[in-house]
Symmetry: C2
Subunit: 228 residues, 2 copies
DNA sequence: AATGGCCCTTGACTCAAGTCAAGAGAAGCG
DNA sequence: CGCTTCTCTTGACTTGAGTCAAGGGCCATT
């Protein structure tokens, strides 16, 4: 049996007639990745984009001395690497597989032809890019206007929200990667998590987090309060 | 006589048949702004987007204690405020007029109808959003992985580039606003500009900059070198 | 010419977060 | 099973950049 995501289940392709799904299917190429594989590199020409089928990828920027800033983590059903498709310039960031997985690759020119013939595909794609722009405004806001404890608090609340506001959840990614998402380094993250535990805001066992004081966490996240 | 930008001269609408331009014209509403006017506010529902005709606007985030991070500065011909159009959620940031000016407002539903009937309008818009995503990756990279002197150096080189690599140019905006673009505060910007002048990298008179040592500036911008 | 309101700069100080270094677990591999 | 390798934590130190406070210059308006 095959558990893989089918092309019609991809949100980007929602609402398309079967005929278009067949077209998409016929232009797509399946690609498998092992954990750690480079999918594309910043500066490399982009001849198409990807949709994750299984596994997880990160999109990130790299500083000359090797520090990483993660821009996105994408899982099954999510498209990535679309910027060069519509802009014609190279990839603006790097992409590496976080786990073993599979993606569909859609070549640029064939995909653009499909878009020309199908306005709802265009609108779906506009929605995807718009959501991504919004996320970036949040990221910039965090990096520029908030301190690390506030970013971490927001992120924990976000994760909790993803699990239906459960008080308990897994981080899903290693802590050094989390540091890269929050624009900091593992040492700092570790210290701040330590303070949160001591302050009674959360409890931790490995990568399992339990929110102990949601209200204070919210105040921290909004910048009303500071972590002492 | 009328110096204003005509609708056909807006890059977003490039390549559209006259009929569509007329449609666009008929759904658009002209709005005038005075310097300092709020155009929209974060959290406000977005029922349409804007195209700048004359003047300049800034799009920015605000921290609880009033610090600003500028996300974009837009001038004549540039669209802004499109995210809610395709995503259906409120504006993700604030917008204020930097100078007196005029914008065209395009209501959401009418515009979406036009897009559905016109693939090249959709592709143009996809191009605009993609370019904007790329710019954000650069902004995030700067904020997270580079120090203020490096961000400033890149910005100066960017301004020089805009003027055909001229060694001399105006900042165009007040220095406190420049600080807000670079993710810092006026005091810090002032100090670093001071250091650059002392170090012989640039010369300054008011808001006029002359690049004196482009090579070192480039090394600074890339992070290879530090400002002492 | 004088007043008030920005804009910009400079100095002294503070502090959040990064660097460097060491070590403990945990996980993957031959 | 033992070895390497990676992840995570903790301590001591450094530092980039922010805060606070003061003052000078410039412009617009009266």
């Amino acid at each position: 049996m095959n558990n893989d995501l089918q092309i019609g289940q991809i949100p980007l392709f929602e609402g398309l007639p079967q005929e278009n799904l067949d077209d998409l299917s016929s232009i797509s190429v399946k690609r498998d990745y092992k954990r750690g594989n480079i999918i594309f590199t910043e500066g490399e020409p982009g001849n198409g984009f990807y949709v994750m089928i299984s596994g997880q990828v990160k999109i990130f920027k790299l500083s000359p001395d090797g520090k990483e800033q993660i821009l996105h983590l994408f899982g099954p059903g999510e498209p990535f690497g679309e910027v060069p498709v519509f802009e014609g310039r190279p990839f603006p960031a790097h992409s590496v597989a976080m786990t073993d997985g599979t993606a569909l690759f859609f070549p640029r020119t064939a995909f653009i032809e499909l878009i020309k013939r199908n306005p709802s595909l265009a609108l779906n794609m506009l929605g995807v890019l718009s959501r991504r722009l919004r996320r970036f405004t949040v990221l910039v806001d965090n990096l520029s206007l908030k301190e690390v404890p506030a970013r971490l608090a927001s992120h924990l609340l976000y994760l909790s929200d993803l699990k239906g506001n459960s008080d308990q959840f897994e981080l899903e990614i290693p802590k050094n990667q989390l540091a890269g998402m929050l624009g900091t380094i593992p040492e700092t993250l570790s210290r701040i998590l330590g303070k949160m535990v001591k302050g009674g805001l959360i409890e931790m066992q490995g990568s399992l987090v339990r929110i102990a004081d949601r209200d204070v966490l919210k105040e921290l996240a909004s910048g009303l309060k500071r972590l002492t």
